[in-house]
Amino acid sequence: MDEITEGTSQVDCDILVIGGGTAGPMAAYKAKKKNPDAKVILLEKANVKRSGAISMGMDGLNNAVIPGHSTPEQYVKEITVANDGIVDQAAVLKYAENCYEIIQELDNFGIRFQKDENGDFDVKKVHHIGTYVLPMPNGDTVKKALYRQLKRARLLISNRYMATRLLTGKDGRIAGAIAVNTRNAEFLVVRAKAVILCMGAAGRLGLPTSGYLYGTYENAANSGDGYAMAYHAGAGLANLECFQINPLIKDYNGPACAYVAGPFGGYTANNEGMRFIECDYWSGQMMQEFYNELQSGKGPVFLKLNHLADETISEIETILHEVERPTRGRFQVNRHNDYRHGMIEMHISEIGFCSGHSASGVYVDDNACTTVPGLYAAGDMASVPHNYMLGAFTNGAVAGEHAVDFVNEVDFADIDEDFIAAEKKRVLAPTLRDDGIPPNQIEYKTRRLVNDYLQPPKVTRKMQLAQDRFAETREAMENEMAVTNAHELMRSLEVASIMDCADMAAFASLFRTESRWGLYHNRADYPERDNENWFCHSILSKDDAGQMTIRKKEVDPYVIPIDEDEKDAYDKQRIKAQA
């Protein structure tokens, strides 16, 4: 079982999509629909049937821009302000304009959105200004419905292959990828004219407070491989210092979730049972307020439902305990918690990279193109901010449709056999050691160090210390890590991605010498926002000498201008009560 076997196969295709969670299936499907003759491969580390963040469905769409409820312009403004202005609006606008069509298409696939008694989408108002939340109380079958479409389209699906590195041609163009089978360690080399990265968030970066490596907010299969692969292929990564940190049920480490309870009248409260969040849209500012309350005498923070009617609470319970993270109900039973009586203790998540909830991702333009020709990215790992599930679907579609045209224009880039040989050597190194340190110990240590030194508030000296500790741990990983089977080999490769992400997190955070995005980049020794010097993206990449480097990039001129008083509209609302 899980024995390591030697072997390599090679396949060619027009488009290789890596990651079959949310964005990936849509990218592959749309490419194939647009050109049924194109050879499209969807490669997945787990099994597309139930992989990714949405494996058991979602509580709802957090950011649906549906005519009659909100407009694309309004949405773009909202995201721009929530992101402290550091947004290339073109991509956000494109998402906002396309997402309604995608909702309708998903509805046709049989994905179940909440509808009113007239069959219209039952959009709920949660935010102060726009109306964007569309619940999915019966959305647990979302992956089934998607998978059905992929099967009907006869897409080529490779399950249980973990991609480890991208291949680039001499001209710097994308050439394909290398993957390893997670059950027998055989290699798969895929030559492709275009590659679309959809590998989700870097969710195993920080360590959850429980200490359980897999008790993460994100689907624990999302170990940041996409970020690491894009980095090693020379792509630029944007604003990695804008960490993802989310509110969640303490210890359970899954969302509570404000977007479910909100429309029913539930909310996040302090120990006095009072609302305390001033900020409107989900943002780093909101997380800062959450953090402050946690640290204050009014902490910790709770989910409050006990003021609602019994009937309403039952309805919320059904949603929270049947979709998205259905073990929530079991957790509460173990704790003897009942939403009707007490409040539910909440906390903040470990840190990670994720554009879905924040803004840290592989840099992409409004066609989902990265800085490497022929390489695309979509979903949580691509830089379009606050994108969530619908963003993954919509931008996955954008990537697939663009890539299918792109591959008409190009031939395969040549692949570098030496690089492939070196990569195989890197991958197999831990299998050649008879004994050594197992991946789980190296992972635990790295992530523990991430918590100790990188969690905001960020301190310069601590982050420098982190870099030293990471370097030592990396040395152990490169020279002493040992594995006994193919499954552990997968874990060892994940550790390498986690290590790369940890290095990038420290490097990017040290670069931006200001505080921005609330808690996400709260630098204790640079507490102020500095628009004069830092109203820009940071773009991290690997230089020709193989060293990590980072530069500023201007924010593209706004397509939807934001008036001074509109920026203010949010700040004004945050004014504290005088009492």
Partner: protein, 320 residues
């Protein structure tokens, strides 16, 4: 380079069907699962045949498997499963039937709307809802007088999805149903109409004995966009349930009912912050200058959401 193809194999249906005759029910069940996985529409015929299997678990698996397919043939098989003697099989079939998307799937289902079992009638109507076929209107309306409440509710949804004004009188009559759940569905289903008749009917429901009916009626009234219900909504501001008051305030705000301002203002002092929040928003929507002193007096509400709405409301009123 090897000829190895590292892709999911979708088994050919012919290779699976032999196993449907295996003496072992477990093996037959796995064969059914493989048929579902094949995504090949030709599997439906075999699945239908397997509904005759003597083992309940095999039939159950078939009922589940049919959710992977669509169209009239699938519906044709599901109506067999939905009348299965085993309740679990029938329930799975009912759930699979509700997944159908192809309007043509309605044809085999329509005759079952009058089936002798209430469960089957409800399941059929539930499936017909999403298919939105005009042929469903008549049988659904007939089912408004069904003895079973679930059937009546499902029938109302079918009619509600079709959004035809012709059905308004029938829908309105269901606001008087004996079952609260039915009345709730009916109140929601009237949301498509912009007629005064619908508004008047919903206004009456604001005094329904069930608070959730009152809540839905109050909520739906803002969609119906008619102010004839304004007096009833104002009266609902003294409802014993804050939830009903909250929805009424929201609708009064959206409908811009200026007369309601003095009655909304007291809600700025209620214990439940959700109600204070709604009151502030509605006063802003109505842009009522006479609300300014009350709003200003609550600028320091302990709840930030209330403060936000008060500031927003004051900004709106003052910019006039």
């Amino acid at each position: 380079m090897s000829a190895f193809e590292p892709f999911e194999q979708f088994d050919e249906v012919e290779d699976i069907v032999d196993r449907l005759d295996d003496p072992d029910p477990g093996t037959r069940r796995v064969a059914v699962m493989d048929l579902a996985d094949s995504a090949d529409p030709s599997a439906v015929t075999y699945l239908k045949k397997a509904l005759g299997d003597e083992a309940r678990e095999v039939r159950l698996q078939v009922a589940l498997a049919l959710a992977e397919f669509d169209g009239p043939e699938t519906a044709d098989a599901l109506v067999v499963a939905v009348v299965d003697e085993d309740a679990g099989v029938a329930q799975a079939a009912a759930d699979s039937m509700a997944e159908l998307k192809d309007p043509a799937a309605a044809d085999p289902i329509l005759p079952f709307v009058t089936h002798e079992s209430a469960f089957v009638r409800a399941a059929s109507l539930r499936a017909l809802r999403e298919l939105k076929r005009t042929e469903s209107l008549k049988p659904a309306l007939d089912a408004f007088s069904d003895e079973d409440a679930t059937v009546r509710s499902e029938a109302i949804s079918v009619v509600g999805y079709l959004k035809t004004e012709d059905a308004l009188p029938a829908l309105m009559s269901m606001l008087k149903d004996v079952e609260p759940a039915v009345r709730r569905t009916a109140a929601g289903a009237l949301g498509f109409s912009v007629t005064t008749a619908a508004a008047e009917a919903l206004a009456q429901s604001l005094t329904d004995s069930d608070w959730q009916v009152r809540e839905i009626a109050a909520e739906t009234l803002c969609k119906v966009q008619s102010t004839v219900a304004a007096p009833a909504l104002r009266a609902a501001l003294t409802d014993e349930y804050w939830q009903v008051r909250q929805k009424s305030i929201r609708s009064l705000g959206k409908l811009g009912v200026a007369e309601a301002v003095p009655e909304i203002i007291p809600s700025l002092d209620h214990d439940i912050s959700n109600l204070r929040k709604e009151a502030a928003a509605a006063l802003g929507e109505i842009e009522a200058p006479e609300a300014v002193p009350a709003l200003e007096a609550h600028l320091d509400d302990p709840d930030p959401d209330v403060r936000k709405n008060i500031r927003w409301a004051l900004g709106r009123i003052r910019s006039e």
